[in-house]
């Protein structure tokens, strides 16, 4: 083991946002190993206070360009729960449909553009155009299809505008539904090709069992709705999240650390895969098997593959949802439910691409926000990232500094952290003392 090592990565590239990784080893002993998040995460909560009920979903959709649909719906669900609004079955299906495609947008961005360069030996996505043009072209086609899906349903490819408390201000036409189905079907050859490429990638061998927390549902592979499930054996209604999920401020970061049944837990695609494998489509299960992804999986690096498997599931389930909506017949009268304002509290819990996302609002009689609490997936993962780094470092300490730096960055990137919404930027500097 290297006797002395001081690594500071500032910023860690190819993660959403900006932050620091600090590794300090003296006399073969790890003195410090932290992810430092330097900026304030509480701005949006403060900003929501005093706002009228129709505003939070539009404001919070701007928190992040990658998770705008997830923030929109965590927000809408919190408000609908507070007021007792009951959206129609058609609305719920359209919401699940748009939700799938933010997941595809984000998972595609991460798997192909942000993580693949590590595994294919490229510094970023740009050299991949030369070395692996097929990968870049497939990624762009998938991203464009997912963008188009979100645009048709949400009115825009990012920061949707048709999605409001009660339902939709505009629903897609039958023609658009059929167009979406055709677009989805056309992705299968690209997914097949991607599978062949991904199968050649070697994920680092690293296992650390932790607590996996995600939504769960009796029928669906839960993304839009469900109860909160822990691999440590509990399931709770999302409204009761405070009975299990705790937050604490840590000295080195303004992003709060979270814990539930033990010191840390993991949220995101791998948690969803571990908790809800049986609800995946058959094809997604086949792809998982081909990639060597089995439950329970304790290798964080495999989160990259879990994200890819979720893309397959989202395509399959979207086609099913479109068929169901078409069979029932699109009905403008079911686009909006009644909204009656009243004082109360509501919690909206969804699966953002990076994991569990919670919005908790309290409203007064006029429908203005009195209090807001947002818990963001990357905050939930911080403690687990640090514990993973703690366990992984001794396994690679004999490698060169450059290799250690890259390995630790890859570990952090495997979480697909989105620091821009949990806070802002991320930074790494590597110095031998």
């Amino acid at each position: 083991m290297t006797e002395n090592l001081n690594i500071e990565v500032s910023p860690i590239s190819r993660v959403e946002g900006h932050g620091d990784l600090v590794i300090d080893v003296k006399n073969k002993k790890v003195e410090e190993l932290i992810m430092r998040i330097p900026e304030s995460p509480r701005f949006f909560e403060a900003m929501l206070v005093g706002r009228n009920w129709s505003e939070p979903s539009h404001i919070t959709s701007r928190i992040c360009g990658i998770c705008s649909v997830a923030h929109t719906y965590a927000s809408i669900k919190a408000t609908e729960t507070a007021f007792g609004v009951k959206p129609s079955g058609q609305t719920l299906k359209l919401r699940k449909l748009i939700f799938h495609h933010e997941c595809v947008q984000s998972n595609t961005l991460h798997v192909y553009f942000l993580a693949a360069p590590d595994f294919l030996g490229a510094g970023s996505v740009v050299p991949l155009v030369e070395t692996h043009p097929d990968v870049v072209k497939i990624a762009l086609r998938l991203k464009q299809t997912a963008n188009e899906m979100v645009r048709i349903i949400g009115g825009r490819a990012v920061h949707p505008i048709t999605t409001v408390v009660g339902g939709f201000t505009k629903i897609p036409t039958e023609e658009e539904m059929l167009k979406m189905k055709d677009m989805l079907k056309s992705t299968y050859p690209d997914l097949e090709k991607s599978l062949k490429i991904l199968k050649t990638l070697k994920m680092p061998e690293f296992e650390r069992e932790t607590e996996y927390i995600s939504l769960t549902d009796k029928k669906d592979y839960a993304l839009y709705d469900g109860d909160i499930k822990s691999s440590d054996g509990w399931v709770i209604d999302g409204q009761q999240y405070l009975t299990k999920i705790n937050e604490k401020v840590v000295r080195h970061s303004t992003g709060k650390h979270c814990w539930a049944s033990r010191d840390s837990f993991l949220v995101g695609a791998l948690a969803r895969f571990n908790n809800n494998y049986d609800k995946l489509s058959d094809k997604a299960k086949t792809y998982a098997a081909e990639l060597g992804l089995k439950i329970p999986c304790y290798n964080t690096f495999m989160n990259n593959f879990a994200q890819f498997v979720e893309i397959i599931h989202s395509i399959d389930d979207s086609i099913k949802l479109i068929d169901e909506i078409m069979e029932a017949g699109l009905d403008e009268d079911k686009a909006m439910a009644d909204v009656n304002i009243k004082a109360g509290r509501g919690v909206g819990v969804v699966e953002a691409p990076r994991g569990l996302l919670i919005h908790d609002y309290t409203y007064n009689n006029e429908g203005n926000v009195l209090k807001a609490n947002l818990i963001i997936p990357t905050n939930m993962n911080y403690a687990n990232i640090e514990m993973d780094m703690d366990a992984y470092l001794p396994l690679i300490i004999d490698k060169s500094e450059d290799e250690i730096r890259l390995a630790m960055e890859m570990l952090i990137r495997a979480y697909d952290p989105c620091i821009s919404c949990s806070t802002h930027f991320l930074n790494v500097k590597l110095v031998n003392k």
Binding site: E39, G65, F113, V125, V126, V136, G155, A157, H159
Partner: protein, 169 residues
């Protein structure tokens, strides 16, 4: 991205179609300047006077810019840019002058999935070559906040003047 319609051209540069894309996060203070400029152009019905122009609120999207660029001939990008100029100073340059792009250590503050520089490099690698003009202003403050600094906000008319010049000449 929201699109605001324009049919046929009716102005000086009648036959050339432009896309004006503003980038930024409206909740990150001066980072939102690109979006504020687009809002202002909508408010003054810019597309009525310049019917060959499409206005686009690009938000904080990164890689998605590729799709917009792919379908464009001429693009004007409005963003918070540090090209080594003074705070509040506006820079305007053509992206196809790559040497300038590198020399000036061009840095956009807005996009956070892949960087704007990566998007441009990727675009070149993919042989997507629209004519891109960047009009950028160096921000004073990039931090959580809804308001643009007064010394940046007061430059919006000047940015719009530069946009008009770019279209008319």
């Amino acid at each position: 991205m929201s699109m605001h319609n324009s049919d046929s051209a009716s102005n000086n540069a009648a036959n050339i179609n432009y896309k004006i894309i503003g980038f930024g996060n409206i909740f990150m203070s001066d980072d939102g300047i690109g979006i504020r400029v687009i809002e202002e152009l909508n408010k003054i019905n810019f597309s009525e006077d310049y019917r060959n122009v499409v206005l686009i609120d690009g938000g904080t999207s990164g890689i998605d810019l590729i799709f917009t660029l792919k379908e464009s001939d001429r693009v004007i990008i409005i963003d918070a840019v540090d090209a080594g100029q003074d705070t509040g100073e506006i820079v305007k340059f053509k992206l196809n002058r790559l040497s300038e792009f590198n020399e000036k250590k061009f840095r956009s503050f807005s996009l956070h999935d892949i960087s704007l520089a990566e998007v441009f490099n990727l675009m070149r690698s993919l042989n997507i070559n629209p004519d891109i003009t960047i009009i950028g202003i160096k921000p004073k403050l990039i931090d959580y906040g809804e308001k643009i600094s007064p010394e940046i906000e007061c430059k919006i008319p000047e940015i719009i003047f530069q946009i008009k010049q770019e279209i008319e000449h």
